[in-house]
């Protein structure tokens, strides 16, 4: 059974986000954008080093760009990726909410085992 981590990966590594394109783009756009990004990555340009997703920025690598291009060359695979690229990428999502702590709570006791005389848990 897929874990929620798969849902995150699907958004973070969606080929459209990797290439910085929207699902309506044409096949030529995919090739052009992919080649451009590969060239920029080879030159070590900072602007190509990351891309935006709905979950925030992700590191971009040449391997990820090539995989994205290959995925979008297959019409069947592209159809499924289009479905999951519905959300527009976001520049900076805020951090996930921290669960509230009780008013009078204690922090974990990292020395608990040592205090019992054990050197390791």
């Amino acid at each position: 059974m897929s874990a929620p981590a798969d849902a995150q990966r699907r958004l973070a590594e969606n080929p459209f986000y990797v290439l910085g394109l929207r699902p309506e783009c044409g096949r030529l756009d995919v090739e052009r954008e992919g080649q451009k990004l590969l060239g920029m990555l080879e030159l070590g340009l900072k602007s190509a080093a990351s891309y935006m997703t709905p979950l925030g920025p992700q590191p971009r690598s040449a391997e990820r760009v090539r995989t994205a291009m290959a995925e979008l060359r297959s019409p069947d695979r592209r159809l499924l990726h289009e479905f999951w690229a519905r959300l527009p990428p976001r520049p900076e999502p805020p951090k996930p909410p921290e669960p509230p702590k009780p008013e009078h709570d204690l922090d974990p006791f990292p020395d608990a085992f040592a205090a019992h005389g054990w050197r390791r848990p």
């Binding site: 897929s2 874990a3 519905r86 805020p94 009078h104 709570d105 006791f109 990292p110 608990a112």
Partner: protein, 462 residues
């Protein structure tokens, strides 16, 4: 050689011999000396050999007692030594049942290997043994309290730390200090005064490490009633994705909500059944909308081989699998999914099959082992049973009474046969006794009269 020069050596030998006699005559003192003087230095083999002298303390667990001393020494070493751990496990092996000390030793070895869940299970199992070898149960309780304190599970520290018979000065100090800081009461215990807290700290195992906790406890006023002030409402934090931005587009809204719950930390605390129902309904709306028409149009434009309805079915299956995984991770009962529409019902079916499949697989493995009389060491038997019990209890917690009733007949049949085999052929009373009690509790919960009668007979109650 002058005989007079040998006198000091003879005197020294006499004193050493006298000390050894005293230690042998008073075993708790010998055990204390082994634990503090040998095991604390990480000397595994000498600890095992010396602990074999504690014959009365480990009368019913001849292999477990020495292994326990060795396991304590293993944990006292700076790093895990797998060679020594394997050697210690070898000491636990052999014919015949092991007792509480052996189980605790196995738990400590698992802890040393970094298998915290397995260690926790084994330490809990130690409490199933009768009051024999109290010191093993004290060590198990100390480990459980330290584990809970390290994770910040102070409610557990407060519960376990003051358990009669097995509480030690260190666990009592942690429980009382935690109760003071959290302004809560301990079960059947008064709140500690400042003087009482200082005394417990003085008796604790490591005053230096416990000092910060003592200070924090003393800085908190003592409470005499359990009434706590109402906590302030939590400040609303901005979500990583705001689904409200996509309300006009059902598919984008469902995806945003899905992504939001996929990224939330501590899902089991934050995802409630009503949130899950909202998510399922959002997906129902997304798939009921123009999704198929849009897919058909795109499929035509891209000239795909995959048919649009098949693509939609594939996407729907992915969504359902992920909803099932979210439900399982958040430990939300299946009933919530079933109430939330067609997508929820499909996810519930997947999750139910997954839960039942897991229990079935483990149960069948136990069955075939019982039939073939393939025995494992006592510790491995406990591990295997704990794995099955955990899977069953998880399935029961998520699936409710209906799933519990569905699983119970097979579980009862195979686990009962297994427990009978352990009891009759292998004399593993420490393992099989709790199994019968567990089966009785389950039979009563699902209302299986025949099983109740049988298990009452096995447990020995009327």
């Amino acid at each position: 050689m002058n005989l007079l020069s040998l006198v000091p050596i003879l005197r020294l030998m006499l004193v050493a011999w006298f000390l050894l006699l005293v230690l042998l005559a008073h075993e708790p003192l010998l055990w204390w000396a082994i634990r503090q003087g040998v095991a604390a230095r990480g000397w595994v083999r000498p600890s095992v050999w010396l602990a074999q002298l504690c014959r009365a303390s480990f009368e019913h667990d001849r292999r477990g007692g020495p292994a326990l001393a060795g396991a304590l020494a293993l944990l006292a070493r700076g790093t895990h030594d797998d060679r020594l751990a394997t050697w210690l496990e070898g000491q636990l092996g052999g014919k015949g049942a092991i007792g509480a000390a052996g189980v605790v030793a196995a738990g400590l070895i698992a802890a040393s290997r970094g298998q915290r869940d397995a260690a926790r299970d084994l330490m809990h199992s130690a409490s199933n043994f009768d009051a024999e070898v109290a010191l093993a149960r004290v060590i198990a309780n100390e480990w459980l309290v330290a584990d809970a304190a390290e994770r910040g599970d102070w409610a557990r520290v407060m519960r376990l730390g003051v358990r009669p018979d097995v509480a030690s000065p260190q666990t009592r100090f942690l429980a009382f200090a935690a109760a003071r800081v959290r302004r809560e009461l301990l079960i059947d215990e008064p709140t500690a005064t400042d003087l009482g807290l200082r005394w417990m700290w003085w008796c604790s195992a490591d005053r230096r490490r416990n000092r910060a906790l003592l200070r924090q406890a003393l800085a908190t006023p003592r409470i005499l009633s359990s009434r706590k002030p109402a906590p302030p409402p939590p400040a609303p934090a901005p979500p990583p994705i705001d689904p409200a931005e996509f309300v006009g587009d059902p598919l984008a809204y469902a995806q945003a909500l899905h992504a939001l719950w996929g990224t939330v930390v501590e899902l089991e605390r934050n995802l409630t059944p009503s949130h899950l129902i909202d998510l399922c309904k959002a997906w129902d709306a997304a798939f009921a909308g123009p999704a198929l028409a849009q897919l058909s149009a795109r499929s035509q434009a891209l000239t795909t081989v995959l048919k649009p309805d098949l693509a939609l079915a594939q996407l729907r299956r992915t969504v359902c699998e992920e909803l099932a995984a979210l439900t399982s991770r958040a430990q939300i009962p299946l009933a919530a999914l079933l109430e939330s529409g067609p997508i929820g019902a499909e996810a519930a079916t997947l999750l139910r099959a997954d839960l039942l499949g897991e229990v079935e697989k483990l149960n069948q493995s136990l069955r075939s082992r019982t039939q073939q009389k393939r025995s494992l060491s006592s510790v491995e038997e406990l591990r295997e049973w704990n794995t099955l019990r955990r899977a069953y209890e998880r399935a029961a917690a998520l699936g409710g009474l209906e799933v519990r009733r569905l699983m119970f007949p097979d579980i009862h049949l195979f686990v009962c046969n297994y427990a009978v085999w352990l009891w009759n052929d292998r004399k593993e009373y420490g393992i099989s006794g709790p199994l019968f009690r567990w089966l009785l509790a389950e039979a009563e919960a699902v209302g299986d009269e025949e099983a109740i009668t049988l298990q009452r007979k096995n447990v020995g109650v009327k």
